[in-house]
């Protein structure tokens, strides 16, 4: 085996992996040990909360639009009623 050629192969395709110490990684592992639920369960409650908030927001906006339309209609009626009275 040609050592120079092998060295070139390792430098190109089999470079050593360098990983730096990461205290955040240690914290994340310990958090999972404290709360060993699968990821989807950890996100379940926040996801329901987000969906509920979105529905509530959508309903509020729709309600506001309905209110505006009703007021407009009412205002139109009042104007027409006043005009009838005047005439």
């Amino acid at each position: 085996m040609n050592d120079e050629f092998w060295k070139k192969i390792t430098q190109t395709f089999l470079k050593k992996v360098e990983v730096s110490p990461d205290e955040h990684f240690v914290t994340r592992v310990m958090a999972r040990i404290e709360d060993p639920q699968p990821a989807w369960k950890r996100w379940l409650v926040p996801s329901f909360g987000a969906v509920f908030a979105s529905v509530l927001f959508a309903l509020t906006v729709t309600q506001d639009q309905n209110d505006l339309s009703a007021e407009d209609l009412l205002a139109d009626d009042v104007v027409e009623f006043n005009l009838e009275e005047l005439s």
Binding site: M1, N2, E4, F5, W6, K8, I9, T10, Q11, T12, F13, L14, K15, K16, V17, E18, V19, S20, P21, D22, E23, F25, V26, R28, V29, M30, R32, I33, E34, P36
Partner: protein, 187 residues
């Protein structure tokens, strides 16, 4: 404090003591996962899973064994499971890869310092994936991660002689595949 003493503390109820084991062994565990999965995010998730599995199975850890080797075994086999689940991943045959990318592989070997570029990283990954699985894994363990023959023997659950033999064949196979890409002056 030795790993064995920490394990004894964890098993007697001191959950927090496990932090020190994670701190001691996480870089090499992430490195192992990264070299196998070739994706940083997946590698970190896999390394986390390996620590969690080790913690949950700590009571089965055999006294007198090396904790690090046991942990690397868990991480190694977890990564292999994840790789087997990547069913949609396209695998190149060596001939197809050479036909498509032979010139680029030649250029990459001529100036390996450009390996950091995204397209070259992808090319390195494709070359490694095109190797037979046994050869690829043993080369990754030995050359990229720097595991000793004894550690590889424990990880792969085979004899030292089998490790040495397979490693020799893997090197010869990769050399043979790449040799005819190079001009005589390159070798």
């Amino acid at each position: 404090m030795t790993d064995s003493k920490i394990i004894a503390d964890v098993l007697s109820g001191d959950k927090e003591a496990f932090t020190e084991l994670v701190r001691r062994h996480h870089t090499k565990t992430i490195g192992l996962c990264l070299s196998l999965l070739r994706n940083k995010t997946e590698a970190e998730d896999a390394a986390q899973d390996a620590f969690l599995k080790a913690y949950q199975a700590l009571a089965t850890f055999k006294e007198g064994a090396q904790f690090s080797t046991w942990l690397y075994q868990i991480a190694y086999h977890h990564c292999l499971d994840l790789l087997r689940k990547r069913t949609r991943e396209k695998l190149d045959s060596w001939d197809a890869l050479l036909e498509e990318k032979g010139e680029q592989i030649h250029q990459l070997m001529a100036s390996p310092s450009t390996e950091g570029a995204a397209e070259n990283t992808d090319l390195v990954n494709r070359v490694l994936k095109a190797l037979p699985e046994d050869y690829r894994n043993i080369l990754i363990l030995r050359e990229i991660n720097g595991f000793s023959y004894e550690e590889i023997s424990d990880l792969l659950r085979c004899s030292l002689d089998a490790v040495k033999g397979r490693l020799k064949r893997a090197r010869e196979d990769l050399e043979e595949k790449l040799r005819h890409l190079l001009k005589p002056s390159d070798v």
